[in-house]
């Protein structure tokens, strides 16, 4: 039995898992139209790879990975590209983003695709396949998986952690996936383990999912026996946010990911079990990420998990669960602790959307008015990052961002534990998000100002240089003119005889004239003397 570590704080919100995890995964019918956002992952959005009017096949790449931290997107079904424009997406901002709309032709015809033998292939090739299959972390942050599965310069990877904790209340998509498709998940884990060559593989599952634990353990046992692998399923205590990457790594390995660094820095790689499933589909079947399991729960008629094509409008997915009850006030994307309000039911399902909750005032009572902070410290006791939220709140509220940073605001994982326990009902995480995005923006502006300064200096230098060059050119011209003149003078001196001759000639002419005048004068004088 592995000895588990603890992380500080955490809370026990009501689970609400039983509503949706009793029924098996149901495959959703083919939608008439899919809307595929190009930004479904952390990093640069994918680059459009089709034109309006193109006919695309299921699984065809329609957005190509753009840059290192990026991933491709694919046509979830066959059909015709009808538009490439801004469309509502599930995002807390409610802002639209660039999406490719495909009108399904109903044939759902696959593009030609094939498995890759990952054991013989070059690891870089396998990673490229993962990138082009659009594999991203399905736990929530949607970080491109091929980047994560690159040990790089780090060398030895000690532990590969598979995250099956699913600590958020209401969500059961990983739970049912592990129950029903444990073998496929483990195939995916094998591919990841092959790429990373870790010393051990730990699959962390919260102990409120005994069926999932049993299913995964059964598969791992046989895989370990047959293939001398060392996959260990570790039930971890149910404590939110035990499925946070850093928290799960701490619980399983006892190591803390240093602030501002990635697990790779301590020789750990952590991936979601659902991601492992998509890795298996991509490598062993050649299928890119074009569908996912999503929990539809809360105030709906039949809460259940569905396997839905990416790009399916969320409103249609809610209808699959029998539609929302009459007193539904709004919808949440993700869980109640970290999820956000859905502003538009036309927004499509994305790779990171793991849960849709229909909310009613009975299930999610409106927050009472906030009182002043009384410094009770319950938030600090609940914080899984060992922060002092009451201090961060004070600084964020007064926009004292330097102080907020000094108190490690950026170590906040926005899990919501502090809000959850606050007796004054202060929206602490909202303040932290505000402060974080404000600081990020200020840093951006600072960098932009720095750039502008450089450009300005550069332009000034260039102008200075141009002026100098101009001056130099002018000087050169002047010098050339002067030189020509000087040269002319010098030449004159050199050709002395000619000029001398000329001068002599002129001189002679002048003399001659003078002589003539003198002669004439003499003659005149003689003439006048004669008569006298």
């Amino acid at each position: 039995m592995r000895t588990l570590q603890k992380f500080h704080g955490g809370v026990h919100p009501p689970q609400h898992k039983a509503e949706s995890n009793c029924l098996p995964i149901l495959a959703a019918p083919l939608p008439k139209r899919v809307i595929v956002p190009l930004r479904q992952h952390l990093g640069t959005p994918a680059k459009v790879h089709v034109k309006i009017g193109d006919h695309v096949l299921k699984g065809q790449m329609i957005g190509i990975a753009n840059g290192y931290i990026s991933a491709a997107v694919h046509a979830p079904t066959s059909g015709t590209v009808s538009a490439i424009d801004l469309h509502a997406i599930p995002h807390p901002s409610g802002l639209p983003d660039l999406c490719i709309r495909i009108e399904a032709d109903g044939e759902d015809r696959w593009i030609e695709h094939q498995a890759v033998d990952y054991k013989t292939a070059d690891p870089d090739t396998v990673r490229a396949v993962l990138r082009d299959a659009g594999i991203v972390g399905l736990g929530g942050a949607a970080f491109p998986t091929y980047v994560k599965l690159n040990p790089g310069q780090q060398g030895k990877i000690r532990t590969l952690v598979l995250n099956g904790a699913e600590c958020e209340p209401w969500i059961t998509s990983d739970d049912v996936l592990m129950r029903e498709r444990a073998a496929e998940i483990v195939e995916g884990i094998k591919i990841m383990a092959h790429l990373m060559q870790p010393e051990k593989v730990l699959i962390g599952i919260e102990d409120n999912k005994p069926e999932a634990i049993a299913a995964m353990q059964a598969v791992c046992r046989s895989v370990n026996l047959e293939q001398a692998a060392n996959f260990e399923v570790v039930p971890v205590p149910t404590l939110y946010p035990g499925g946070g990457e850093k928290q799960l790594i701490k619980v399983l390995t006892g190591k803390e990911v240093p602030s501002g660094q990635r697990p790779l820095n301590i020789g750990v790689v952590c991936a979601n079990v659902a991601t492992a499933y998509t890795v298996h589909r991509a490598i062993n079947h050649g299928e890119p990420v074009i569908s996912r399991i999503v929990t539809v729960t809360g105030n709906v008629q039949r809460p259940q998990n569905f396997e839905v094509l990416i790009g399916t409008p969320l409103g249609e997915i809610i209808q699959l669960a029998g539609g929302a009850a009459a007193d539904t006030s709004h919808y949440l994307i993700g869980g109640p602790m970290m999820g956000f309000d859905l502003t538009n039911l036309d927004a499509p399902l994305t790779k990171a959307t793991n849960c849709i909750i229909a909310a009613s005032p009975a299930l999610f009572p409106p927050k009472p008015a906030a009182m002043p902070c009384i410094r009770c410290g319950q938030c600090a006791q609940a914080c899984p990052a060992d922060l002092q939220p009451q201090e961060l709140f004070w600084f964020s509220q007064s926009k004292n961002f330097d102080k907020a940073c000094a108190y490690n605001l950026f170590d906040c994982i926005e899990c919501g534990c502090c809000d959850y326990v606050c007796p004054s009902h202060i929206p602490l995480v909202s303040y932290f998000r505000f402060a974080k995005s404000e600081i990020a923006m200020q840093n951006c502006e600072k960098a932009a100002a720095e750039q502008a300064r450089e450009h300005f200096e550069f332009k000034k230098q260039r102008e200075e240089r141009e002026k100098q060059e101009k001056a130099a050119r002018m000087a050169e011209k002047a010098a050339a003119a002067a030189a020509a003149k000087a040269a002319a003078t010098a030449n004159g001196e050199a050709e002395d005889p000619a000029i001398a001759a000329k001068k002599a000639a002129i001189q002679a002419a002048v003399e001659r004239t003078k002589a003539k005048k003198a002669e004439a004068a003499a003659a005149a004088s003689t003439n006048t003397t004669e008569p006298s």
Binding site: H91, S93, L95, D97, F434, Q451, A452, R453, H455, K459
Partner: protein, 203 residues
């Protein structure tokens, strides 16, 4: 009795005299020691250059627009640091920058542009109506950050990422084809808002 009292008084006087002398000596000694430390520190930790200029320059938005009356942000920073210019002349920075500069210099904050004040303007960038552009290069010459590309008789265009929104190019265009357009809010520039703190709900 009387004599005794007098002696006592004398003694007291002498005592107080001594105490005073000691006190003065201690103070003098203290002054000397502290003075020596200060002098040593001023030599040892001497700062080269004028760090204030750097600090002021770091606060300025670097739009290089010249609306302060100085040719660029750095010259303005130098003027502010040396006390030759008021800290509330930066128009693009608005009251926010004026406030930071006032705090830095320890002077009273004065709003930009007189009493009514000016918030930082929403960030805008120049936009060239390319159908109207005659390719005169006038704008290219005035752009302080080389954000306009093009050449004589050829259409000009703005590099949005470089444009600081200084508006210097707007007045020089002979055909008035440059306008300032606000940057559209998108996911890359989206920010979380300040939470509404429902404390004072109507008394």
């Amino acid at each position: 009795m009387r004599v005794q009292a007098g002696e006592e008084a004398n003694e007291k006087g002498a005592y107080f005299g001594l105490a005073m002398l000691t006190a003065i000596l201690v103070m003098v000694l203290l002054a000397v020691v502290l003075g020596a430390i200060l002098g040593f520190a001023s030599v040892k930790f001497k700062v080269e250059g004028n760090p204030l200029v750097e600090k002021v320059d770091a606060i300025l938005p670097q739009t290089q627009c010249g609306q302060c009356g100085f040719p660029g942000c750095r010259p303005y920073a130098e003027a502010v640091a040396s006390g030759q210019a008021a800290p509330n002349l930066c128009v693009p920075g608005g009251d926010k920058v004026a406030k930071s500069l006032a705090d830095l210099l320890g002077v009273e904050f004065q709003p930009v542009g007189g009493a009514e004040g000016a918030g930082p303007k929403p960030k805008r960038v120049a936009f060239i109506d390319e159908s109207a552009c005659i390719g005169c290069t006038a704008c290219i010459k005035v752009c302080p950050v080389d954000a306009i590309i093009g050449s004589t008789k050829l259409m000009h265009t703005i590099l949005i990422d470089r444009c600081t929104g200084c508006e210097l190019c707007v007045p020089v265009c002979p055909v008035d084809c440059i306008t300032m357009e606000p940057i559209k809010a998108d996911l890359a520039t989206w920010k979380w808002r300040y939470p509404v703190f429902e404390l004072k709900k109507a008394a």
